[in-house]
Subunit: 257 residues, 2 copies
């Protein structure tokens, strides 16, 4: 089964490598930039191109792992190379219907995970949410998905959008809080490493307790003295202080409910 990977960003890279390892043949990598395209192509033994007109015309599956706006913009021109193939995108927030007018066979292959280029991930641990517009292709996508992970779920476009938004809170925003903690610690000359065990335990805890039950800290304890002192420590960082206030209030509100 020949696959073309459209995109060479973080997700495209990890996905192409994982599929390559499972014996699928990545025929070609497309990226706007030559460097990204050739780097990924080399890793998976594929050709590469930076021109949409040069897309391989006889692959079975085209997986588009692009930024959302680039995907929406490129769908009409991409699909021209092989409108009868199976076209997939990997975006949480984009409904399957975007393919409707351009490719009869289409679907979605959405890994609910965060990918960074220089960080290996184990696809086996990644939940994949898949969708297809016909039974045969759903079976095909399931096969692809199950070769990578046991955690394969069917989700509608609506469900996927909801998962994606929850993931923004649980991953993107969480990581930004780590970044703010790092910024504070650096400013004070303290090592970020010191809080890694705390970060780990915070994540592990919610495997066992509901996050609401796992809440600790000055806000949920209504420890006003500590909170007032902590606000003062952030006096020279008004944006961070505002985040402190807003999240503390939100914790207290959730606790009243």
């Amino acid at each position: 089964m020949d696959i073309v990977m459209v995109g060479a960003g973080n997700l495209a890279t990890h996905l192409a490598r994982a599929l390559d390892e499972q014996g699928f043949r990545i025929r070609q990598v497309y990226s706007r930039t030559r460097e990204a395209a050739s780097e990924l192509a080399t890793q998976v033994g594929a050709d590469y191109t930076t021109r949409i007109e040069a897309l391989h015309k006889h692959a079975h599956i085209y997986i588009c792992a692009l930024k959302d706006d680039a995907l929406l913009q490129l769908i009409p021109s991409l699909t021209k190379c092989n409108p009868d193939a199976l076209w997939l995108h990997t975006a949480g927030s984009i409904p399957m219907g975007v393919w409707q007018n351009y490719a009869d066979r289409h679907g979605v292959f959405y890994p609910l995970q965060t990918f960074s280029k220089h960080r290996e991930v184990d696809f086996k641990e990644i939940p994949l949410f898949v969708e297809a517009n016909n039974e045969d292709d759903r079976t095909l996508i399931d096969l692809l998905a199950h070769s990578l992970t046991d955690k394969v779920y069917h989700a509608s476009s609506e469900g996927r959008k909801q998962l994606h938004l929850a993931a923004v809170f649980a991953c993107n925003f969480t990581n930004h809080l780590y970044a703010l903690a790092d910024e504070l610690l650096s400013k004070w000359g303290l090592p970020f490493e010191a809080i890694l065990p705390l970060i780990d335990e915070t994540a592990k805890k919610v495997h066992q307790l509901k996050p609401h039950e796992a809440q600790t800290g000055p806000a949920v304890r209504h420890d006003n003295e500590v909170m007032e002192k902590q606000r003062q420590m952030l006096a020279d960082m008004p944006d961070v202080q505002q985040i402190y206030n807003m999240l503390s209030e939100s914790i207290q509100k959730a606790n009243r409910q």
Copy 2:
């Protein structure tokens, strides 16, 4: 070495149990509430009391793991039972100096971790930040600390306050974002379990990458279409929408710097 544990909350419970396991003798547990005092006392084979006047008068070390305001309020009356003993508190935000006028020998024993009653923790993985007002007692506290973990650090009251504030971001606020994600998923009938691999990977990533480098998601990609749609999905939850906006802006600001 006889220890009195003043407090029977989450931290007091985990700490008393860990010390008991290491062969230290917990003589007595004090708590305002009989139930909490007796529950912990039973676990560590100690007496218990709910009256400050009945505190054991001949222990070597008194460890006070109380809410910050309770600690500040109780120090004068607690120390009367044995002002010559070593008095410790476990609070990140309270300077060692609070003991000054009440106990000659004093210090701090601050575990940088989040504790919940029904969740076991491995003390070996917990960084302990200790402080003492004299060399002999620092040695004693070091001994106590090293019996529990290899990660023993000396930190001033100022450094501890800073660590505590960073921990509020990396742990308490992070957990609240998990809680908001959980709230969204429940509302939409989706299982929280589906995002656990994402939560785990987000935490693991920052062992290897700086959080700033690990940032992913629509905000850092300036994916305005997705962000606009996600804002709309939160239209009926104005507080959560405000958190979405503020953290997204903060991510973009950090990325400009």
